[in-house]
């Protein structure tokens, strides 16, 4: 049987290489899109834990501040707690390289004299100078090579408006300890970090090793009681989960999208298996009649399909890796911009990813082939040997299947209306229902639309009509394209609406002429502006008023969010917080008496409303603020809160400012003032942007965020277009006698070519129609359900007419292009083929 299997396989491969290649490509693209997203997702989390692992090694517990830093006195208390074998403090800060734009080093300040052997400490690098040489810093060899640094070289970094010179003291390869560790990781002595870059007397975390025989849960309780509420004690696993949680919504959405591509790929496999089985029914009939069992025939088919799946995986894995690789930078930027997480520096393929790829590739191929295979192996050999088609069922099934599609939609809608709306993933259930219903609705619609056409010529109408003749084959191609189109359109509508919403929001909120912060703004709360600088800028010629912003990281529900303090009184400054809820004048009064404004995502996710109390953990302990209003904010998915700067000073004590916005007198050119300020403070690390520039940057970030999504859209469209091509090729082969008949009746090759292009166009058009309906529904689900529950933003619905038209045109063109090759093949059918086969 095996020998027969191989011989038959090779023979069929020779006969129909294009069909085979298209199916392999379909599987490969499906595998690639899932793999790409998985690689990115896993490595994003990996990047987070790798940095910590590289510096601390394996720890049992970590003490973290509820906000950012906590007093270092707690360190001695940790050491004195029963059950703690060892502990060491860490200070962690992102500093910017002075002569580079937005290039950050992740500096860890560690106790180099700690009694534990830090994992990388065993390296031969000479660490003895670390404590004594001012500015001693260890960097990775790969970064040193990239920057052209060698030991002893000075480097300038900035932290807030502080500019500090450090000296490369050693090269330490953290990757040896933790392969995913970023090349931007650096280590210094903790006291030096505190003094030079951060704040003295405060630390970010304490890593703890537990004494053998100590119960972890009990130790956590003991530590928590002893250290008080300003810190939380977490296991490494919990930390990873927290990071994963943080970007959970983002990851979930990408994952969902990538699975859609795979879903589209399934249709391709179905079509190709179906076609190949149909062509080979005689062979199977013969096998059966010479004694092969049903199971053997079934096994033969599945064997071939797994081979196809395997090739798809082999091709899809590197493809997925390549897609991940070429998009990782943009995703990484999103993670750092939106979630303030570590950037992803390198990608790694874990064994489980290989397993996943193999699983979905083979599983997908099998799933796609399962029903055709069952169908064929069920037929008895007599049926197989007499001319018949598998299609005969499709026509009568179209209506019941259509009914099923409606049932799926209705039931899901009802479920959502009465029960599901409060369940977080309900939006995905709705989306899946739409995607499942589409292919169910397709055959009947094709039958109705195409079957009813009264042909009066051999043009497009005839092409459309002939689509109904091969309902089963065409339905699959049309449904898969329709799914891809709805995904494409749904997301385009969503992104278009979102972008327009943000545009309007930016227009109201970004009003000042100049925005000023420090290059290391990411590092909170250390990235502060020098007080003298602030007053100097306020007095700068042409500046009418200054809007100061102070940012504190506080913890709400164990999540860190920004609490910003601004001068709520600022004349003309109301627009900074466009209110979703609350009366402007009333809100202003409440805020001055200690109320806070919260952003929409925070309100939605923590289910808070005006009048509720916002419970905040800050350095000082637990605080409560009445919520005065809710404002639209699209800068952070995690949420933020705002209060009056003066009130903030009273509650948290006076503190430095993090960023400024300047309002200029009428007629001043902001760009010129930007240049003046830069010239006036040449040595102060500042990030100054004019209003215009800031708006541009916001949209650069916006577009970056959705770049991966666009790649995924393209991949599923590509798969669907492969499906169209495959289907037409199948039709060109399967319908040889029909084509020969046309020729015998005097149709020219050009006419047959056009007939096929017309079929491609027809399938494209029907899919566009179906997909537009599906896409609109999907967009509504994305905007009103999924986005609200997972991100918490209000998106105003806009119809991005031009991009949608462009996309529709692209899809039609793609369908048209996909039909060219099959059309050429069809037009070359010799008329003599008529004698071979029958038509029915």
């Amino acid at each position: 049987m095996i020998r027969y299997f191989l011989a038959a396989w090779i023979a069929h491969l020779r006969k129909a290489p294009s069909l085979f290649l298209l199916s392999v490509l379909g599987v490969a693209l499906g595998v690639a899109s899932v793999v790409a997203i998985q690689i990115i997702n896993r490595n994003a989390i990996g990047a987070f834990s790798a940095g910590i692992k590289a510096v601390s090694g394996e720890v049992d517990l970590t003490v973290l501040g509820q906000t950012t830093t906590f007093p270092e006195e707690l360190y001695s208390q940790v050491l004195a707690t029963e059950g703690v074998a060892a502990a060491w403090p860490l200070y962690q800060i992102d500093v910017a390289l002075a002569d580079r734009d937005a290039f950050f080093l992740q500096v860890f300040g560690v106790d180099l004299l700690a009694p534990v052997r830090l994992p990388w400490n065993s390296s031969p690098a000479d660490l003895s100078q670390a404590l004594f040489e001012p500015g001693w810093i260890a960097v990775t060899p790969s970064l040193a090579q990239e920057m052209g640094w060698s030991i002893g070289d000075p480097i300038d970094v900035t932290s807030g408006t502080r500019r500090v010179q450090l000296v490369i003291g050693a090269l330490v390869d953290f990757k040896k300890v933790s392969p995913l560790a970023s090349r931007k990781l650096a280590v210094m002595d903790i006291a030096q970090v505190q003094g030079l870059l951060g704040s003295s007397g405060r630390i970010h975390q304490i890593d703890v090793q537990i004494q053998e025989g100590t119960h972890t849960e009990e130790l956590i309780l003991r530590l928590q009681n002893r250290l008080g509420p300003s810190v939380q004690i977490v296991t490494p696993r919990q930390r990873e989960e927290q990071a994963a949680d943080l970007m959970g919504a983002f990851r979930l959405n990408l994952t969902a999208l990538s699975w859609i591509s795979l879903f589209v790929g399934l249709f391709l496999i179905y079509t190709s298996t179906q076609a190949s089985l149909l062509r080979r029914r005689l062979e199977f009939g013969l096998l059966r009649s010479v004694g092969a069992t049903r199971a053997q025939v079934f096994g033969l088919i599945l064997g071939e399909v797994s081979l196809l799946g395997l090739l798809g995986v082999i091709l899809g894995l590197p493809m997925g890796y390549w897609v991940a690789q070429s998009n990782v930078e943009m995703v990484s930027a999103t993670l750092t911009n939106l979630y303030l997480l570590q950037e992803i520096d390198s990608l790694q393929l874990s064994p489980s990813l290989y397993a996943l790829a193999a699983g979905i590739g083979l599983g997908g191929a099998m799933a796609g082939a399962f029903f055709p295979a069952i169908d064929i192996s069920r037929k008895n050999s007599k049926d197989l040997l007499t001319a018949f088609t598998l299609h005969e069922k499709a026509n009568s099934l179209a209506l019941p299947v259509f009914g099923m599609g409606w049932l799926v939609l209705t039931l899901t809608a009802l479920w959502f209306w009465f029960l599901g709306y409060s369940w977080k993933p309900a939006g995905f259930v709705l989306a899946v229902a739409v995607l499942v219903a589409l292919p169910l609705l397709t055959p009947f619609l094709i039958q109705q639309i195409c079957g009813r056409i009264k042909t009066r010529g051999f043009g497009l109408g005839y092409s459309l009509k002939s689509l109904a003749a091969r309902l089963q084959t065409t339905s699959f191609a049309v449904s898969s394209l329709a799914i891809a189109v709805s995904m494409l359109l749904g997301i385009t509508l969503m992104i278009g609406s979102f972008r327009k919403t943000v545009e309007v929001w930016v227009q109201t909120t970004v009003q000042a002429d100049i925005y000023l912060t420090t290059p290391s703004w990411r590092a909170e709360p250390e990235a502060t502006l020098d007080a003298e600088l602030v007053s100097a800028l306020a007095a700068h010629p042409g500046v009418v008023s200054v809007d100061r912003l102070r940012r504190l990281l506080v913890s709400i529900d164990n999540k860190r969010i920004s609490l910003v303090g601004v001068d709520m009184d600022l004349s003309g400054g109301q627009s900074r917080f466009p209110l979703l809820k609350g009366d402007r004048m009333e809100v202003l009064g409440k805020v001055q008496q200690g109320g806070v404004l919260i952003s929409e995502p925070l309100a939605r996710k923590s289910r808070l409303d005006v009048g509720d109390l916002l419970q905040v953990y800050a350095g000082a302990g637990k605080l409560e603020f009445p919520i005065a209003g809710i404002y639209y904010d699209y800068t952070s998915e995690l949420g933020s809160a705002a209060m009056d700067l003066a009130v903030m000073g009273e509650i948290f004590g006076p503190g430095p400012i993090h960023s400024l916005s300047l309002y200029l007198e009428e007629g001043r050119d902001p760009e010129r003032v930007v240049d003046e300020i830069k010239a006036r403070f040449p040595d102060t690390p500042l990030q100054i942007r004019s209003n215009q520039r800031l708006r541009e940057e916001i949209f650069e970030i916006f577009d970056q965020t959705f770049a991966v999504v666009r790649i995924l859209q393209m991949m599923s469209l590509l798969i669907a277009v492969c499906g169209i091509m495959l289907t037409l090729l199948v039709l060109a082969r399967e319908r040889i006698s029909e084509l020969a008949l046309y020729q015998a009746l005097g149709a020219s090759r050009l006419q047959i070519f056009r007939l096929f292009v017309g079929k491609g166009l027809g399938m494209g058009l029907i899919a566009l129609g179906l997909g537009s309906a599906g896409g609109t529904v999907l967009a509504a689900i994305l905007i009103f359900v999924i986005n609200r529950t997972y991100f918490g933003w209000t998106i105003q619905v806009y119809w991005p007419g031009w991009p949608v038209l462009q996309q529709l045109a692209t899809i039609l063109t793609a369908a048209l292009l996909a039909s060219l090759y099959p059309a050429l093949r069809a037009s070359k059918t010799p008329a003599v083929e008529l004698s071979r086969d029958d038509l029915q």
């Binding site: 009066r456 051999f458 009509k465 002939s466 149709a747 020219s748 038509l839």
Partner: protein, 228 residues
């Protein structure tokens, strides 16, 4: 006879390349002229080359040697496109297995050559009705092809072949798939319609009885033509 023959074969041979064996002649130096309006029946054993002859006559296939001319035009000298146009305008074909398209109605099947030729729609639709009327199927015009019996299907196929009033009608075992009663009916219809409109008719049949309805009966034996 001064009129140009409707169909001319001059020393026509056809060899299919059978890749391994020495080549076998499906037709060997066949020559004949068929004057306009003549009805010829071709008989012969299975494999004797009857279908091959018709395919060559229809310009569906090209001879290995020799010349096939339709109303004096040598098909081999024409481009593929020109040959297609000759077939479209001058030839009607009827097949043993009917070759009707299941996704078209009866009327649409009859009209198919009209669709392909892109001729005036109303004109050939009228003609289709006339023909269907003649074969007694006008009331089935909007029916689905699958709902017809074999004999009915072949009558539809005959209507299709006659739609554009071809000068030359070629039929390859038109009754090969029908029972005796239906065979007689179909054959008589075809002969009647061909006579009425003055078509030249060449048909292949296995039945001596049906062959005898023609003006002349020719016999093919292993690719060699013998008038009998």
């Amino acid at each position: 006879m001064t009129a140009t023959p409707a169909l001319t074969f001059r020393l026509v041979s056809k060899v299919y390349d059978s890749s391994s064996r020495e080549s076998r002649f499906a037709l060997r130096e066949v020559s004949f002229d068929i004057p306009p309006g003549l009805k010829v029946a071709i008989v012969g054993r299975s494999g004797s080359g009857k279908s091959t002859l018709l395919h060559l006559a229809a310009g569906i296939d090209v001879p290995t040697q020799g010349e096939v001319s339709i109303r004096g035009r040598n098909l081999a000298a024409l481009s593929d496109r020109a040959r297609t146009l000759v077939r479209r305008q001058e030839i009607g074909l009827v097949f043993q297995f009917f070759y009707l398209l299941p996704h078209l109605s009866v009327r649409e099947n009859v009209c198919l050559p009209g669709f392909i030729a892109g001729a005036g729609v109303s004109e050939f639709e009228e003609r289709a009705s006339e023909l269907l009327e003649e074969v007694g199927l006008l009331d089935r015009a909007e029916d689905n092809i699958q709902e017809l019996s074999g004999g009915e299907m072949q009558r539809v196929a005959i209507c299709r072949s006659l739609l554009r009033k071809p000068r030359l009608l070629l039929a390859d075992e038109p009754t090969g798939n029908l029972d005796d009663a239906n065979s007689g009916l179909v054959m008589n219809l075809m002969l009647k319609l061909a006579s009425k409109e003055g078509h030249t008719l060449v048909y292949v049949t296995h039945s001596a009885e049906l062959a005898s309805l023609a003006d002349e009966v020719w016999r093919l034996q292993s690719g060699v033509l013998n008038p009998s």
